[in-house]
Symmetry: C2
Subunit: 389 residues, 2 copies
């Protein structure tokens, strides 16, 4: 058996998608909704007012909970869970980007399952259900709107932990995707989000065993689309076509489509290596991935250079393995993304490399990766390469 | 708003996928199952024995109903509905190709909704629910395993009617896709099924209004994949890669992915024009589409030649609109598919063209198409072109 696909999320796509929010909330039986959001941009843009008005018109009660920050914190999740339980909330509406969505998913798991929600993220307990979640997306990046994953940062511990949980209950009920709602996303966040999109596909592309050609080709099509439209969106932030192509690429990159027929979920080492950076230093996740990827790629290249060659041929029309890595790095630079840790503004010395590598392997108690399995020493080497040590 | 996506079907893909049938039936709460199948190939291959054994091992009761033929008949659907109601069956397992699946969906609608099942297909009643359906697929073609549609032929009327019904309740619970189960499909059926796959994408590609570039590019990738792997599967019927690429292309071609972001569901005139042929003369649906498409394309070309140019460039690397049509026809010929009605073995005279055109428009009471809207006279002209009259 190879990878299958399960994507039950009802996706509405295009201009005005958010206008459907009353209708879909009713269709999914929502009567009392938690509207969960970030640090206020949806207030400034008028989107929150619009949503509140639609809910009022549809006689749907709601409670507001804002304040989600990038690398969303378990402390706010706990607050959300308390609110949902105390106020008998039966639906969570996430309005924002991947951080808001991941926070909403965590609230859903915790409110349904009781106990300490962090247990689901550190692997102590299995997610058994959720309060239903829906989303209005305002940022193209994490693909959380159709994925089974959420990533939460535990800000109550020292050192800070960032952990992901995958569950079929993480597939939300509906996602309303209006590319116009991403017009106000800054150049930097657009680029960082797009690197995340690229990496969700690249992580799946690198795996052990036999590849499935159709999935490879769909992956190349997605990567070429992001590479074509990201510069347009950065130059002309209100370009509907560019925003629409990036938005849908973000969703398809992480809903599982691009693993179908493959033997495994993919490599995912870069994500693990990056999580230490964004947990500890709060860098933008996509920028962190860009800073790491080239070093990871050079370190694992020898495992199967032909896999890099196929990627380069499919995306850039050049089949030299080293050139494949360079072409990605050239693209990252062209959209003002870093290609090393210094580019993130961090001074990462040898001790920092050592500490981060041990963080990734949970103090040398696990290995990561699938295309190439990596132990603490390997990860330390990759951090050293990425930091120029 | 443009087209969204709703694909809740749980897909298991790869060698041995059918071994999961006991597990997934239990997960979806099945206790008494109707196993629905065709004219016996699954008996000869041993697949039915295997499924029965798995159900017995899982203590799931079942009842058998075979006999589905291509262009599945409402008479057998009625028999299935009676059986489901009388025996308190709570799950329908379709084992076969699109005809078996479409028949199973119709049984599900009828057993749930009561009354005359044909009402759902001739538009008299809306589908309000279904007995849950799952499938083990043995033929790559219709994409019914993940689509919202089913097509049934009414053999109780004169003339015979073939009608489709689309409903969100047509999205089945699970689909088990093992490419090995399609090894025994004949060259002709493999080619005919692949034309159907191609046409599900091409029908969606031709629409009014602005196109969504990412969806266009994914469509080209799918079409190129089918064009690459069909000849391999015809030459080497047990080639896993070829069968796997075709199987997944069949599913993605019709699950709605390749309409996302477009203003409409697509044109679908060719399907309507073909349905008259397969209803009346019982030809293979894909072969019928191949016989019609070139004539439809030449007739509507003037509406927007640039759309044909983009298709040709994306699939064949040639952007001349006429060459695009010719290239598809050359491909059809290369896989022994017809490019006119004579190639179906039918002698279609002027009267036949007239009668069929009136059949398509329900005796001049509707028009069809979206890229170009067609009335009875237009359809008559297309039949004339396709039949060489």
């Amino acid at each position: 058996m190879s990878m299958g696909l399960y994507t039950p999320t009802d996706v509405q796509f295009g201009r005005g998608a958010e206008d459907k929010v009353g209708e879909v909330l009713k269709a999914y039986g929502a009567t009392k909704v938690l509207i969960h959001f970030g640090t206020g941009s949806i207030k400034r843009s008028g989107l929150l007012d619009k949503i509140e008005k639609i809910l009022q018109e549809n006689d749907i009660e709601y409670v507001l909970l804002g304040g989600v920050v990038p690398n969303p914190r378990v402390s706010l999740v706990r607050e959300g869970i308390e609110l949902v339980v105390k106020r008998n909330i039966d639906f969570i509406l996430a309005v924002g980007g991947g951080s808001v969505l991941d926070s909403a998913k965590a609230i859903g798991y915790g409110a349904y399952g009781g106990g300490d929600v962090w247990d689901f993220y550190c692997g102590k307990r299995k997610i058994e259900g959720t309060i239903p979640v829906g989303a209005i997306l305002t940022l193209s990046a994490t693909g959380s709107e159709m994925s089974d994953s959420s990533v939460i940062t535990n800000d109550e511990t020292e050192p800070i932990f960032k952990r992901g949980a995958n569950s079929k209950f993480g597939r939300i009920k509906f996602a309303l995707l209006n590319p116009e709602l991403t017009y106000s996303v800054s150049k930097y966040q657009t680029a960082s989000g797009s690197v995340d999109i690229i990496m969700h596909t690249v992580e799946r592309y690198f795996h052990t065993g036999e590849a499935f050609d159709f999935t490879d080709k769909l992956s190349f099509t997605l990567l070429k689309t992001v590479i074509e439209y990201l510069p347009i969106a950065m130059k002309d932030s209100n370009n509907y076509d560019a925003r629409a192509n990036l938005m849908w690429a973000g969703t398809l990159s992480h809903n599982g489509l691009l693993a179908v027929g493959n033997p495994t979920r993919g490599d995912w080492a870069c994500h693990q290596i990056e999580h230490e950076l964004s947990a500890e230093y709060d860098v933008a996740h996509g920028a962190g991935l860009a800073a790491i990827w080239g070093s990871w790629a050079r370190y694992v290249l020898g495992t199967d250079p032909s896999r890099f060659a196929k990627l380069g041929e499919g995306v850039f029309g050049e089949s030299d393995p080293i050139r494949t890595i360079e072409k990605f790095e050239e693209f990252f630079k062209s959209v003002d993304m870093p290609v090393d840790i210094a580019g993130l503004g961090l001074n990462f010395d040898d001790e920092a490399c050592r500490r981060a590598a041990l963080g990734v392997t949970f103090q040398d108690t696990r290995k990561i990766g699938d295309f190439k399995v990596l132990a603490t020493e390997d990860i330390y080497e990759i951090y050293k390469m990425a930091s120029g040590n």
